[in-house]
Symmetry: C2
Subunit: 358 residues, 2 copies
């Protein structure tokens, strides 16, 4: 049964999505401006449960692609996301039953809503990362061995590309990233279309609800002047990894990604220790005094210790008081195939995955 | 009326094409190996005159794309060129009546023959450069204001891309070049399809015949131990610009192009002078003692002074004895719109075009 996504949930979804991932297509608060405007113009987005899809329904998987710094600065136009979906429909010669998010982390949690509001299609309550990851092959669909093509890409000018075939997920990533970089490191994409069956079998379900609930808990804690970091840990069954102050940031935009590391000097229980957080768009591995202590696929979040707001790899800066927390990963990401796709080695760290939750 | 392209013309076409342009998809002699093999297996390619096309026939415009050094080293597989044509047919949902060359210079003169031999389609006796040029917008079709999309691109693995829309020829060049670079700076492409009417109005006609005749003249002069450079000048109504010895080469592969310059020390009538040839895949401007004396769209050729073989920007080296000759450009390239598209300013030189033939 379709359920209307109420306007008052938009801020909760954006807040939760920003905690679940800061590299996923930029800042979700910018996307809320677009979505609120569409609601003000009368649009309403319906949410559909994966179980309600017919096996042969076609589902569009959408995301904004690019370097976080660009997504941070440029307000997305919802028409580009809708156009990426239409371009794929034209290519397939079949309409989509519904639209879903590639990643529930960051602005891309809202990307399907923008397209859905313009196209009058429902959004599926699911994604394929359960957070945000920087590369195309880092999805539950890739882990499930599903096809990686075709992919449509639309830029902010009038350029449109379809990758009709790719040898592998890595090649799909490489080719689509090259196009994205050429058009200014920001583009709207419609990834390989999925059948209803594929979404039911390999999607990460209920993540729209999870992100909205997480965001609501944080907003409510803030309103009550409670500790929002504690509220996140409590609601999402997370673990605090470190508390401290940012003392160094090393960051470069290269090959369409934002890469680097930040160093945190401990306070309170962590006084005397340092934590280094390495990142590629998203936080990847935490080293305490040089030893890896937490890592992907456990979800590492950097939160402002006072407001509980997430701090992204593109906006972390000297002097911020921060809490590093880990949240449990969706089960599929911690399977051997999952760890191969999104574990520390997938980010270039020769470390065996060890969960802080085991 | 279709005319069979006889096997004995393959070497003449390759020889002529190599004089008309050395950056056009690499060395044509490698492509002759492929085409001869297809002929040995029974394939025969028919040549069609532009005037024989119906106005609403669809024509595929093909080329290998990439940096000359890569094209020089990697033997092309004719199936990739054929696949680029088929991919475009699938996308259009319409079959092509015939196939034509993007550029008659370099290996790309033979590219339509490779696809045609496999697909059983004729080759049109035309191209849209009358030589070779490094960028997508440097064509008579672009000068005519025709559409620049869609474009299909197939690599040597299993990656396939369609650029379904581009804001401009420059953006088409930028996006397709980014894909080409990502897949290793070599790819088979089918450019924007043309109607029979467009080929008749804006194609550069008869260039398959012209290249074949030019090549035959050189081969015959060589066989007679005559001066092949003189034979080129005589047959193609060219002018000798300089004779000398290569004393310096400065060359880098960057952004999918081969750029740089070579310096020639004069001999005979040019003793005491130096000529500097600046290039981007193709020779662009000749500076004699620092003054520009010959430039695109006049066609600059660097020929081995003894054999008359063309020397490409990718293979020029210290010590070679060379003759620099200029050949007249097709009329459309010397119009104001032509000079804007392919004149010295299009290559970054702030010089007014002055033809050596006026």
């Amino acid at each position: 049964m379709l359920q209307e996504f109420p306007e008052e949930n938009i801020e909760s979804l954006a807040t939760g999505a920003w905690i679940l991932g800061t590299g996923g297509g930029g800042n979700p608060y910018l996307s809320t401006l677009n979505l609120r405007r569409l609601y003000a113009e009368g649009a309403r987005v319906q949410v559909l449960q994966p179980s309600e899809l017919a096996d042969d329904d076609m589902v569009a998987v959408v995301s904004g692609m690019g370097a976080p710094l660009v997504g941070q600065e440029r307000l997305k136009d919802p028409r580009h996301m809708a156009r990426a979906v239409e371009l794929m429909e034209d290519y397939l010669g079949r309409p989509f039953r519904a639209i879903m998010a590639l990643e529930i982390g960051g602005a891309n949690a809202l990307s399907p809503f923008l397209a859905a509001a313009l196209l009058g299609r429902p959004v599926v309550n699911a994604d394929c990362m359960g957070r945000a990851y920087p590369e195309a092959q880092m999805t539950s669909f890739a882990i499930g061995g599903l096809s990686m093509f075709p992919l449509s890409l639309v830029d902010v000018r009038d350029n449109e590309v379809i990758v009709t075939r790719a040898e592998s997920w890595k090649w799909m990533e490489k080719v689509s990233r090259a196009v994205c970089t050429a058009v200014g490191s920001t583009a709207a994409t419609c990834k390989a279309p999925r059948t209803g069956r594929e979404v039911k079998d390999w999607g990460i379900h209920d993540t729209i609800t999870q992100a909205t609930d997480l965001g609501r808990v944080v907003l409510e804690a803030r309103a009550r002047h409670d500790d929002p970091v504690a509220a996140v840990l409590d609601h999402a069954k997370g673990k605090q990894i470190f508390r401290g102050k940012i003392v160094d940031v090393d960051r470069t935009t290269t090959g369409g990604f934002l890469r680097g590391k930040t160093v945190i000097e401990g306070i309170d229980a962590d006084r005397g220790a340092t934590l280094e957080l390495a990142f590629q768009n998203e936080w990847a591995v935490a080293f305490r005094n040089g030893e890896p202590v937490a890592m992907t696929p456990d979800l590492l979040c950097l939160l402002d210790s006072v407001s509980g707001s997430a701090i992204g790899t593109e906006s972390v800066r000297y002097g911020q008081r921060v809490s590093v927390v880990a949240l449990p990963a969706p089960e599929i990401l911690t399977t051997p195939a999952g760890v191969a796709a999104v574990g520390p080695r997938a980010f270039g760290y020769d470390i065996d995955f060890k969960s802080v939750f085991k």
